[in-house]
């Protein structure tokens, strides 16, 4: 059975892991390579690495940090931030990423998703959608690290993005980001109804119960969280134990040893 994935997220600015609340009030949370290695050792199913200032500062992703992170972890690595073209994506993949997330550039030019999927396969194209509530059951897409309202309906964009070539959706509720109030289950369910690609829930994780809700009621395939790991409230291992007790199928610690 395909396991539900737990994905620690490393928001990186200027080579350091940072974490904000509702995309602002950003504080330092450590070294990206060290944190990625620690979470992988704890049983993370994947590591997500978002260069959160790349797009707004018109900068390319910090490829050397990607390379050093990729060299230290033997679980998949998803990298986003500042990817604007097929060549940008190629550079991130060659630095050691397994999947690449795009947001701003795809909103500006949706065919980018098609071009990347044709070149690299849709399995490594992740569409990151930062969404803010407009009214009940209606969300708008934000770009440039949450700074600009693209005035695009998030559910419609999810459907179009998947049809163009996104092989996975990383859906972040900006309203919930960093609040620990739980994931936006209405947003997740609305998107799940229109796409059949894997769905990663992001924004609002306060604890294991929120993740259980996102993976069951929200129909997500994976949950992404940052604060609860960075602040040490949970290790990936203790979190998985709670999810498992709640009936969620997670990957257990392997009995295989190397060497």
């Amino acid at each position: 059975m395909l396991r539900k994935r737990i994905i620690p997220c490393l928001d990186v600015a200027d080579g350091r892991v940072v974490k904000g609340i509702q995309f602002v009030d950003i504080v330092d949370a450590g070294d990206p390579v060290e944190l990625a290695s620690r979470y992988a050792a704890q049983g993370a199913d994947e590591i997500c690495f978002l260069d959160i200032t790349a797009s707004s500062d018109e900068r390319r992703t910090l490829l050397d940090v990607v390379a050093r992170t990729a060299a230290r972890v033997n679980v998949p690595l998803t990298v986003g931030g500042g990817v604007r073209s097929v060549e940008d994506m190629r550079a991130v993949l060659r630095a050691g990423a397994d999947k690449v997330a795009v947001n701003t550039a795809a909103v500006r030019r949706p065919d980018l998703l098609k071009e990347c999927a044709t070149t690299f396969g849709r399995q490594c194209v992740v569409l990151a959608i930062d969404a803010r509530t407009v009214s009940p059951q209606s969300w708008s897409v934000y770009t440039h690290g949450g700074r600009r309202d693209a005035a695009v309906d998030a559910v419609g964009w999810a459907e179009l993005g998947a049809s163009l070539g996104a092989g996975e959706l990383l859906v972040t509720s900006m309203d919930r980001d960093g609040t620990k109030d739980g994931y936006d289950l209405d947003l997740l369910s609305a998107i799940r109804r229109v796409v059949d690609v894997p769905l990663i829930a992001s924004g609002g994780a306060g604890g294991a119960a929120d993740m259980v809700d996102a993976l069951s009621k929200g129909h997500a395939d994976a949950v992404l969280a940052a604060s609860i790991f960075h602040h040490g409230e949970y290790t990936v291992g203790t979190l998985k134990q709670e999810l498992s007790r709640a009936g969620i199928a997670v990957r257990e610690e392997s009995s295989v040893t190397w060497p």
Binding site: N74, P76, G96, K99, T118, F120, Q123, T257
Partner: protein, 201 residues
Amino acid sequence: MIGVIDHGAGNLVSITNALTTVGEDSTLVSSSQELADVDAIVLPGVGATGPAMARLQETGLDMALRSWSGPLLGICVGFQLLFDRSDEDHRPCLGVMQGNVSEIAGRPLPHTGWNDVDHTGDPLFSGIPSGETFYFVHSFAPVPRDDEIVIATTHHGDTFVAAARDRNRIGVQFHPERSGASGTRLLANFVSMVRTSRRVA
């Protein structure tokens, strides 16, 4: 020395790092001449079959791989490229294993994440219990013409082939280089096969 085929798309860092971890030197190979220096091949990884096959044809590596008789490990798309043709791009692949590559049945698709691999006890899985989880990220999988080459299966909607072996030609649909300790162990098993074939040679 293991040659890791560079077909222009995707992540080669992970597999070369993983081979280093299990104590084996590797070198990137992007032309058939460079194969002279290697005695085993890894055909990775991320990408789509069409562009990967086109790149192999441009460099002449397609013919070199067809006639390669040493140990060979295809990973994910590299596994799919070993078969006759793929529904992904409707074009011929290497055809060193018989059968076609088709979209898998399960949803969500792509099949992304950790899933159980049930194996037949082939030495490739030495030290790895059947049912251990490996990391997958793909929408297509080979359907071999001959069931006897199947050494592992996985279920997502329907049962599909997770690994196949025809003598020293091996393919896995999952990513051992991204599958934690189980994946590292599997690569170590492949490397010990390579070393055995060196002793015989």
